[in-house]
């Protein structure tokens, strides 16, 4: 699965580092939108841009609302973005220093009943081509990729 993300930290990487508060998340979306706006020959760029922004946004809101709930200080999110060729894709990495994520504790949403939470990671997995989480010495690391 995680094949798009190799060597994703080159000279063309864009880095954004921001306070882990909901009010700044629009900035992340705007950066993604501008990076994608430069990509040519994509059939439905408006929809693609929306879904990629959504995927990244969901990971960010989870960091704000789950990883950093107990923490009072040093709540930051670091995001790196890079356009790659062959296959053409946008690779995004998100870092935080909050609580670890435990996949085993997460339940799939029961779609037919409607959920008051639990749609976030479900949407991310559905709109992105790659989603991986790992614990690194530097912190929690989420890697997303979307083919263009």
């Amino acid at each position: 699965m995680n094949t798009l993300h190799t060597n994703c930290e080159g000279d063309e990487t864009l880095r954004l580092e921001l306070p882990a508060t909901l009010k700044y998340l629009n900035v992340v979306g705007a950066c993604v939108a501008e990076m994608l706006a430069q990509v040519e020959d994509v059939a439905d760029m408006a929809t693609l841009s929306y879904t990629v922004q959504l995927g990244i946004h969901e990971i960010c809101t989870n960091i704000v609302q789950h990883a950093y709930t107990q923490q009072q200080e040093h709540k930051r999110i670091a995001v790196t973005m890079e356009m790659r060729a062959q296959p053409r894709c946008l690779c995004v990495t998100l870092w935080d220093n909050g609580k670890h994520f435990e996949q085993s504790e997460v339940q799939e949403p029961l779609l037919d009943e409607g959920q008051v939470h639990g749609y976030g990671l479900f949407l991310v997995r559905n709109v992105m081509d790659e989603v991986t989480y790992s614990r690194q010495p530097e912190g929690n690391c989420w890697r997303l990729a979307k083919k263009l």
């Binding site: 009010k23 959504l54 779609l111 409607g114 976030g120």
Partner: protein, 113 residues
């Protein structure tokens, strides 16, 4: 905002712009106020929604769960934005909510949030 205690007919709530984690707590509060004011039948008009995330989905489901206990109902007008509509289909909202073409019914009450 409407505050009468008995509302038999449907109340249309029109969302404009972002319906997301940042605005969710405000939207929760607004819908709660309407439920407390006696509204049991809603039309959530998402036609003008420009960004919808999982917290926005949860806002819709939460009002549904609350009024369903009281034989209430929630209908939904889908966003015009194709991408946002797709998110609602992904979450199978067309099975959970009755999708209606438009909220424009003359004489209906309307709240913009």
């Amino acid at each position: 905002m409407q505050t009468q205690t008995h509302v038999a007919h449907a109340m249309t709530v029109t969302f404009i712009g972002r319906l997301d984690a940042f605005s969710a707590s405000m939207h929760h509060a607004q819908l709660d106020t309407l439920v407390q004011a006696g509204v049991r039948h809603f039309v959530l008009d998402l036609a003008g929604v420009e960004f919808l995330d999982s917290a926005g989905l949860a806002v819709c489901v939460r009002v549904l769960k609350r009024v369903q206990q009281d034989d209430g109902s929630v209908k939904m007008v889908l966003p015009e934005l194709v991408a946002a509509r797709r998110i609602l289909y992904l979450a199978r909202f067309d099975r959970i909510f009755e999708i209606v073409a438009s909220s424009a019914e003359p004489g209906e009450e309307n709240v913009y949030v």
